[in-house]
């Protein structure tokens, strides 16, 4: 409610509050900086957690930081919301785009209006936004996934895996990097498929494909999932077929994969913490607004972002979060 009212009031009263306010007070020294995260969607636990981080940043640094998002994951609605933030003349816009390509022109508009723009989960927007913030390098995330798989499998045995689709860039980056890493590091691991199976991020498809794979390769010892649906359904298939000898790792969320970690049908799930990503994005914007330099090696004050790397406008943390039976209950997303 707060967010919607502010947006409306801002849109309507831009002359009164925005321009006049700025003119009267001059520099922003008296006025709190306004840093707004426009997330993908309202009401899903991932972005609820991100809001926690954004709000926390606001408290820690005494700025007006908050999060808005479209009710559904509609790219057009999200672009509209960013437009109203421009009209409201906020100081910084943070964005996790539903569709990087369709939001690009709006972000360019924001830059022209002198607003600081930080993107997250959109490396293709680096350069349009001042910086794109990523929790990790995809190559590192993939390698870690296969390290965890190898560890769970005791370093040997046959394995298979699932991605959203062979055309999904992020999933394939994880898979390719992890696969190459495993070939070098764990020679006794054997990938039985020509390429990973695809689930189109759909649970039913994932469950069917994994069941079929387990039927064709009954001596399988490990499964990895690059999609949340793939990892959780691999764990469920293992449970249904009473095959606890098969180890499952991959991308996962506490809210979805926690139960499988508890039941022991999945060994580890990896992800990144949305609250920290939100906090760090806000912090980068804050530093830019204060004229502080952004460079490789700076500390962005969150776990895994203490010594970030910077390449082509993308800030990489080393913030992979590995969920296990022991720690998953600490997280609420």
């Amino acid at each position: 409610m707060l967010t919607r009212r502010t947006v409306l009031a801002g849109g309507a009263g831009i002359l009164a509050a925005g321009v006049a306010g700025r003119a009267a007070f001059g520099a922003a020294s008296d006025k709190k900086l306004e840093i707004v995260m426009c997330a993908k969607q309202e009401g899903i636990s991932w972005f609820d957690d991100m809001r926690v981080g954004v709000n926390q940043f606001g408290k820690d640094f005494g700025v007006n930081a908050y999060q808005i998002a479209p009710e559904t994951g509609d790219p057009a609605k999200q672009a509209q919301m960013v437009e109203s933030l421009i009209a409201k003349r906020v100081d910084a816009i943070l964005v996790v785009p539903n569709d990087p390509q369709s939001i690009r022109p709006v972000l360019e508009q924001a830059r022209k209006a002198g607003i600081t723009v930080i993107s997250h989960e959109a490396q293709s927007l680096a350069g349009v936004s001042h910086f794109d913030v990523e929790a990790f390098k995809n190559e590192d995330f993939g390698a870690l996934m296969f390290d965890n798989l190898a560890k769970a499998m005791g370093g040997e045995g046959k394995y298979a895996g699932i991605v959203g689709a062979l055309t999904m860039e992020t999933h394939m980056q994880w898979f390719k990097a992890g696969f190459e890493h495993a070939k070098k590091t764990y020679p006794k691991l054997e990938f039985v498929l020509a390429e990973p199976i695809e689930d189109n991020n759909d649970e039913k498809t994932a469950l069917d494909k994994i069941n079929e794979t387990l039927k064709k390769y009954p001596d399988l010892k490990g499964l990895f999932g690059c999609s949340v649906s793939g990892t959780s359904m691999a764990a469920l298939a293992v449970e249904k077929l009473r095959r606890k000898d098969i180890k499952v790792v991959g991308l996962g969320l506490p809210s979805i994969n926690g139960i499988y970690l508890d039941e022991g049908s999945e060994q580890e799930a990896q992800c990144w913490r949305p609250a920290d990503a939100g906090y760090v994005a806000a912090y980068v914007a804050y530093k830019l607004l204060k004229g502080e330099p952004i460079a490789a090696g700076i500390d962005l004050k969150r776990p895994g972002y203490a010594n970030v790397t910077l390449e082509n406008g993308v800030i990489y943390g080393n913030a992979t979060l590995v969920l296990t039976k022991e720690n998953w209950k600490d997280y609420k997303f």
Binding site: E195, E203, K204, E212, K215, L241, R242, R243, I256
Partner: protein, 359 residues
């Protein structure tokens, strides 16, 4: 196979070759011929897969096929009934996920962990939504496609906006539903583990028998075929359109609700955005099974076989080592093949009867 719609096959046609020829040229049976053609296609495909991967011919494959296809088949039977009447329902999957969502949410709300309760709610909500479909179609004489397409949108709106539906994850699902998805009637060893016959086979068999009875042993069923074949004649004969519409759309809705609950139990996740979008896959299976979009034709056996073929195509790509994109190709191919042959046969039959309707 329904006796009332079946022309008998030529007695003792010599060998399968002459029988196949007879079917392809339309001299053989009517829809019964289509059924055996479909059965033949399934057989050929199974042999092809087995040649490539001999392990495929196993009890485990059959059990997995049943688990995978049971829920889809249940909803397809409802789609069949509507299609026989000459209508087309595209709201069934939205209805399914709504029913499953309401059933799960109410179970959590009241703290009732009972499969029976969830089943009653899901089937009840499904039937109610179906009845609304039927009523609207009757009252405003609207095209069924438009009505049910609109209903699909309305249902999604209700879920997302009014109920503010969030995914209900495995840990928050009632234990009874989670067990419904994993319980088996018996198990056989598979590798170091076991594969079982899912309990889903019980609702599947009940749905198949009740659909067969509804279509073939009731006045409503006869009226449904009559409406699909020739609506004007059916109405002149005194078919009560309101009654028929209410019964068949509620029935299809009830099966959708049942299917929704089976599906969410299978994958242990109630996500309001799943399911919807797969309508054409189900419709394709029903049409492959011999139902006509124009109504008046279709059978339970046909749906069972059509769904068997489509499920087989979906669940053998890893076995034969093809990427997922191939299943669209295979399903498309089967659809065109079956539709062309049945149309061609109808054309030849009509020509012989000097009927030039569909030349």
């Amino acid at each position: 196979m329904e006796p009332m719609h079946e022309e008998s096959l030529e007695p003792n046609a010599a060998g399968w070759r002459s029988r196949l020829l007879a079917q392809l040229t339309g001299r053989g049976g009517g829809r019964g011929g289509g059924i055996s053609l479909l059965a033949g296609l399934i057989l050929i495909y199974v042999v092809m897969v087995a040649l490539r991967s001999p392990d495929f011919l196993s009890l485990a494959s059959l059990l997995d096929l049943i688990r995978s296809g049971a829920a889809w088949t249940v909803v397809a039977l409802g789609v069949l009934v509507v299609m026989v009447s000459g209508g087309i329902d595209v709201s069934f999957l939205a209805n399914a996920i709504l029913s499953a969502y309401v059933a799960t949410a109410l179970s959590r709300w009241f703290g009732i962990d009972s499969l029976t309760f969830a089943l009653v709610v899901a089937i009840g909500v499904g039937a109610l939504v179906g009845a609304v479909n039927g009523l609207i179609i009757y009252l405003f004489s609207l095209p069924t496609l438009i009505t049910t397409l609109a209903m699909q949108g309305v249902i999604q709106g209700v879920l997302m906006v009014f109920l503010g539906a969030q995914p209900i994850t495995a840990s928050r699902m009632p234990i009874s539903l989670r067990n419904f998805g994993t319980d088996v009637l018996f198990e056989v060893p598979l590798g170091p583990g076991y594969i079982g016959l899912t309990v889903f086979v019980i609702p599947l068999v009940i749905a198949a028998i009740s659909t067969w009875l509804l279509l073939n042993r009731t006045a409503i069923g006869r009226a449904t075929y009559a409406l699909g074949s020739n609506p004007t004649a059916a109405l002149r004969c005194g078919v009560n359109l309101l009654k028929v519409n209410l019964v068949i759309y509620s029935y299809a809705g009830a099966l959708a609700g049942l299917m929704g609950l089976m599906m969410v139990s299978d994958i242990r996740l109630v996500d309001p955005v799943t399911l919807v979008g797969n309508e054409l896959f189900v419709l394709a299976a029903v049409v492959i099974g011999g139902a006509k979009l124009t109504g008046g034709a279709g059978s339970v056996t046909g749906v069972l076989l059509g769904m068997t073929l489509v499920t087989l195509l979906n669940n053998t790509l890893v076995t034969i080592g093809l990427s997922a994109s191939w299943n669209r190709f295979f399903i498309g191919f089967a659809l065109v093949f079956i539709a062309s042959i049945s149309h061609y046969r109808a054309k030849l039959r009509n020509l012989r009867q000097l009927n030039f309707d569909n030349i």
